[in-house]
Amino acid sequence: MSDLTELNLAEARDGLKTKAFSAREITDAYLSAIDASNPALNAYISVTHDQARAMADASDEKLAKGEGGTLEGIPLGIKDLFATKGVHTQACSHILDGFQPPYESTVTSNLWRDGAVMLGKLNMDEFAMGSSNETSYYGNVVNPWRRSGGDNAALVPGGSSGGSATATSAHLCVAATGTDTGGSIRQPAAFTGLVGIKPTYGRCSRWGIVAFASSLDQAGPLSRTVRDSAIMLGSMASHDPKDTTSVDLPVPDYEAAVGRDVRGLKVGIPKEYRLDGMPGEIETLWQQGVEWLKQAGAEIVEVSLPYTKYALPSYYIVAPAEASSNLARYDGVRYGLRVPDDDVITMYEKTRSEGFGPEVKRRVMIGTYVLSAGYYDAYYLKAQKIRTLIKRDFEKAFADVDVLLTPTSPNAAFAPGEITDPVTMYLNDIFTVTVNMAGLPGISVPAGLDGRGLPLGLQLIGKAFDEETLFRTAGVLEESAGFTARPEKWW
């Protein structure tokens, strides 16, 4: 039998259905790959061998009877932000030391309900705060991709879903869950040659996902094909009465949208995404994307989103403000790390100082500052008003077009330590963050390589709850790009 880890999700699903191989076999193949490769890549921080095999065996029983869900027997990696019952769940922070939740997140429950197999928990930026997976308490994740031309320097996989990106890209899972607050699914997907979708805010339940910024956080998949993401999202999405912000809408058959053509589709090109100083390769790729869609019969329309440039700075008010409050529960009283002291306030201060890494502290401090007395109106309230303006921009644009095409990220993967200035690091999310601010869905599709052989992604932005158009258009881009490049296996 050929290497089962080579199969994408749809192929694996079909093979399992026809009993070409068993869930146990494909699971074991992945577990072996993880054991062999993870030391070099650091994608997994906890591998659940026994649980994976038990779940695979259960799937095989179902498959033998001709039963099973849409993901029956499919081995997945789970970002450490998702609560998984009795299994390591720390948001890759020291402050949640040893935490094992007595509950399972709604999104992962949906996956297990549909038959998926959990391989383990994936590395990420601490509390999902980062764009390079350099802020994890468990160390950096390494991108399987390297620059061509003999440059052996390690590269970051992007963040915060860096472990999800590397694991999926290096075939250490069929696909993975991610979360996206400002670009944390789409940017790492672009950095590692994957597809990643952040669905509309409210499409996936946030229940059981460690909160970073509640009004921006949304779960979604990272996968090797558009079809795989459609299948994954179909399982992850649901209305959940336990999350007041989740939406009571039926989950469409996303997979059915993949393969539909785009003739007559109106694709908007927002001119404000053409940044000064953006690498020429990104601009060229974007133009290439326009051509592909044109050739496939779509109509291209230039649109304007005038408030785009204010999205990132207002994001860096809203997200830290919400985070400063969401992370107040990590106080060493009920779970996680405690640094003891006889005085309770000192105990809090020591625990939180030792438990949080520098980026988390920075954001908690910023968030505390912008909410503090006298500053609320000038910062938080103003940022929320700008969000309204950003959302209006999109509403106006979507009156004329069905979908928007933009680059995913202003640059390809970079080396760890290469960006040290926080603001420069934040600029990584410049194209993705607007989507979170407006609550819209966005998908990144691998579209080509830069001059140094690194993958670049194109982003499609859709109307609220119109993920189907994203999958449909992404499918066309995927086919046109014919992206088949793979990182050379060095690990």
């Binding site: 040893g98 935490f99 094992q100 007595p102 509309t200 805010y201 409210g202 009004s215 921006l216 009465p241 007041t244 912000t245 939406v247 009571d248 440039k309 204010y310 700075p313 207002s314 860096y316 008010i317 107040a328 009283v333 009920r334 779970y335 996680g336 790390l337 405690r338 003891p340 002291d341 005085d343 309770v344 105990m347 201060e349 020591k350 939180r352 100082s353 949080f356 502290k361 920075r362 908690v364 401090m365 910023i366 505390t368 500052y369 503090s372 910062y379 309230l381 103003k382 940022a383 929320q384 008003k385 700008i386 969000r387 309204t388 303006l389 959302k391 926080p422 603001v423 609550g439 609220a464």
Partner: protein, 95 residues
């Protein structure tokens, strides 16, 4: 917007994060840089604009008044760093 060290210390206290002198210095610079950068929002006229209060345009669903949770003190305290019976234990608090 430059932040002074006293402000860094006040914010750290509010956030219950102890900071060393070196950290305070570093944070002072970083926070100032970030706040300087967000200063560009002052260009935007938000007169008459409503702040976004809900990303999704639906009204809040309410649940019925039914007891269907709790009575699980083992689970509630399972991860506690210090406990006594089913109480969480903390250093003595003076009111």
């Amino acid at each position: 917007m430059a932040v002074d060290e006293a402000t860094v210390r006040r914010i750290a206290r509010l956030a219950r994060i102890s900071v060393s002198d070196d950290e305070a210095k570093a944070l002072q610079g970083e926070l100032s840089t970030i706040l300087d950068w967000v200063e560009q929002l002052n260009e935007v006229d938000v007169e008459g604009v409503e702040p976004m209060t809900s990303v999704v345009e639906v009204s809040m669903k309410m649940r019925d008044d039914v007891v269907a949770d709790g009575e699980c003190p083992d689970e509630v305290t399972a991860n506690a760093p210090a406990k006594e019976d089913h109480f969480f234990m903390v250093p003595k608090v003076v009111e």
